[in-house]
């Protein structure tokens, strides 16, 4: 599978992506994407693909989604001028406030859209995975709203570090299943969700939380999350009469970043920068910087950049932020990197924790640890490019991170964490 692209191919693919011609009929974003699913799921994915195309072009469906986004999610989320961060960084800093969306993160945009789709397709139950718990909470809420029962798979490690979100899922009526297999984080939770779906492909709907997975998930989630960038672009123009010089978003699977970036792809003047989890630093197993250090491979249904060893075994990852702690990334990001439209950098655990404190102190906003990675990338860029206008996707709020943050305050002198696991349990 060839991934090297000539300049002419890169240009053509960007044009196609902007025109809405990607993914192609086979679910491909250039060399990336596709549908690498067990045979049992192929007919279910084909039905779903048809349902996606019909729903997104059905006025009734779209108007119900819009109404729910407004009335129930609280959209549009504000664009906040961050005055004190601006002075500190020597830039004009604007925050797209997904932390103010219902349930506290951008995840609700996707969860709501897919819950409506699941109902339309006649699903009797919804399955979801969750890492940080934000997608699980959003799915639990959206399923309650549309009246469909849901089961959320969550890694045992994540259940511990995101305890507040586990309680919220229970309150919202979800069944939460702790995952003890594999790496006991997001990746193992996705494995388990797939196993559940394979066992009941007709009556269950798998509500995947990021722009990963087999076609049509990366496309569907991009469509549902693009509300972020579409709103932010209009808000920037309304507030400043201009577009930003650069936009920043954190990237794990990459749904909030695709949501912010996709609607800005055509604006060539906007530099787009994604920030991955640099964890404890360089070296396999110490971070989740998939685009920076991974290779093309297949996990969870699509061909994309991936962290794996010489034998093709998926690598353990580390990030202080559960939502970024994932060895893969969405195929559209792999393409955006390959064609040079988005640049991907990383921020370490320590930098992200500092950024949480800085944002709290300067703006009175507690960002999620995931979103704090975007703040790090933006601050570093602002230092090198003084006097620019900066748009940051503040993907979620940090209330869920209390256990980790309290722990960090308790061991401020002890920034070296123990590796979670260097081998397969």
């Amino acid at each position: 599978m060839r991934v090297h692209l000539t300049k002419a191919e890169q240009k053509k693919l960007l044009k196609q992506l902007i025109a809405g011609d990607l993914p192609d009929a086979r679910g491909r974003y250039g060399p990336f994407g596709g549908r690498y699913a067990p045979e049992t799921l192929v007919p279910a994915l084909e039905r779903m693909e048809q349902g996606v195309h019909e729903s997104l072009s059905d006025e009734l469906f779209v108007s119900e989604l819009d109404r729910e986004l407004k009335q129930w999610v609280g959209r549009p989320t504000p664009l906040t001028f961050a005055g004190r961060l601006s002075r500190r960084w020597g830039a004009d800093v604007f925050l797209k406030r997904e932390d103010l969306a219902h349930t506290g993160a951008h995840k609700i945009n996707n969860a709501l859209g897919q819950a409506l789709l699941a109902r339309r397709l006649g699903a009797q139950r919804v399955i979801a995975e969750t890492g940080a718990g934000q997608h699980g909470v959003a799915t639990a809420a959206a399923c309650a709203r549309v009246g469909t029962p849901c089961t959320v798979y969550m890694g045992a490690v994540d259940i511990e570090r995101q305890a507040p979100n586990v309680d919220r899922m229970y309150q919202l009526g979800a069944t939460v299943v702790p995952v003890q297999s594999g790496d006991r984080t997001l990746r193992a939770a996705i494995d388990e969700a797939f196993r559940d779906w394979v066992s009941d492909p007709d009556a269950s709907y798998y509500l995947l939380g990021s722009v990963v997975g087999p076609h049509p998930y990366p496309y569907l989630v991009q469509r549902l999350q693009s509300v972020i960038g579409t709103e932010a672009r209009a808000q920037m123009l309304a507030m400043t009469d201009a577009l930003p010089d650069a936009a920043f978003a954190c990237v794990g699977g990459g749904s909030n970043a695709i949501g912010l970036f996709h609607p800005l792809l055509a604006d060539e003047s906007i530099e787009l920068i994604g920030i991955e989890a640099g964890g404890r630093g360089d070296g396999l197993g110490h971070n989740a910087a998939t685009l920076a250090t991974g290779k093309p491979g297949v996990l969870h249904g699509s061909y994309s950049m991936l962290l794996y060893d010489d034998d093709g075994q998926i690598q353990e990852t580390h990030s202080v932020s559960a939502g970024l702690d994932y060895p893969g990334v969405g195929p559209e990001h792999a393409l955006l990197q390959a064609i040079g439209r988005v640049r991907y950098v990383s921020a370490t655990d320590t930098e992200a924790l500092e950024a949480v404190r800085e944002c709290c102190a300067a703006e009175g906003i507690l960002p999620a640890l995931e979103s704090a990675h975007a703040l790090v990338g933006a601050r570093n860029w602002a230092r090198e490019n003084p006097g620019k206008r900066i748009l940051i996707g503040l993907s979620g709020r940090g209330d869920k991170d209390q256990p980790t943050l309290s722990q960090q305050i308790a061991d401020t002198d002890d920034t070296v964490e123990q590796p979670r696991s260097a081998t397969i349990p």
Binding site: E39, T40, I314
Partner: protein
């Protein structure tokens, strides 16, 4: 004989002898890495074709037994390269061997080198549970250079037209998954199993082997009445991990 024809021919020989063909599955290097070849020979003596599992970190079509055996084999240092090296170094096993692997280890190995080395190791075909036919072109082309078989899975959820295409595309045998689900289930076989197997059989020009959740001699007999062979995975892996003799178990399944 071409490698993929060797698979079909071994299964057809069982049919000609008036019995259901046995396709045992074992995870390579489990429970003991050092016992791999000995266990394989023992299993091969009681099988018409042997399916060797290449361990993978994220076996998302597998139940708890094969997850456990995969993770343990990885912890024991088993890899695709190690498996092929061991098979190449040992005296040829007469029973046709097929490798069951998720796609990423195959990508990491490189398709062309894999086809060559697999042939040298005496492997006749591949089963790749996360590689649907539509995505398999490049891998099939690599296998074709060595005449290795690409064994296609079909399931009760596979629509009629697709079933025909998959049966036509499959080489060696057609792997009929008995249930919508993961490997190693303990529930009874579905009531409409025989209709389904008859449907698959009617599309097939090569042997049909059925598997997923096969644990008893009764099930083997039931499947054997409507398919050419039966695949036994998790139940055999459980016997092996308990240190039991695989020959006794496999013969029991065949009612011997």
């Amino acid at each position: 004989m071409l490698p993929h024809v060797k698979i079909a021919s071994a299964l057809n020989a069982a049919t000609a002898a008036g019995r259901v063909a046995m396709v045992p599955f074992m995870t390579a290097g489990y429970p003991e890495r050092d016992g791999f070849i000995d266990t394989l020979r023992e299993v091969a003596r009681n099988g018409d074709v042997v399916e060797i599992g290449v361990p993978f970190t994220d076996p998302l079509a597998d139940g708890v037994t094969i997850q456990r055996s995969s993770h343990a084999a990885l912890a024991n240092g088993v890899s695709l390269r190690w498996i092929l090296d061991k098979l190449t170094a040992t005296a040829r096993i007469d029973t046709p061997l097929v490798l069951m692997s998720y796609l990423n280890p195959l990508i990491a190995y490189g398709f062309d080198a894999l086809a060559r080395h697999a042939t040298e190791a005496g492997v006749c075909g591949f089963i790749v549970p996360d590689l649907p036919y539509e995505e398999s072109g490049e891998f099939r082309r690599a296998l074709a250079t060595e005449n290795l078989g690409m064994i296609q899975l079909v399931t009760p959820a596979t629509p009629e037209a697709r079933l025909k295409n998959l049966c036509e595309a499959s080489q060696g045998f057609i792997y009929a998954v008995t249930v919508a689900g993961i490997t190693g289930g303990s529930q009874d076989l579905p009531v409409d199993l025989t209709d389904y197997l008859d449907r698959v059989k009617s599309c097939a020009t090569i042997p049909v082997c059925a598997g997923f959740g096969v644990r008893s001699a009764e099930q083997v007999a039931e499947i054997g009445a409507h398919a050419d062979g039966v695949i036994v995975g998790s139940a055999l892996v459980e016997q092996l991990e308990q240190g039991k003799d695989p020959s006794i178990f496999l013969r029991q399944l065949l009612g011997k």
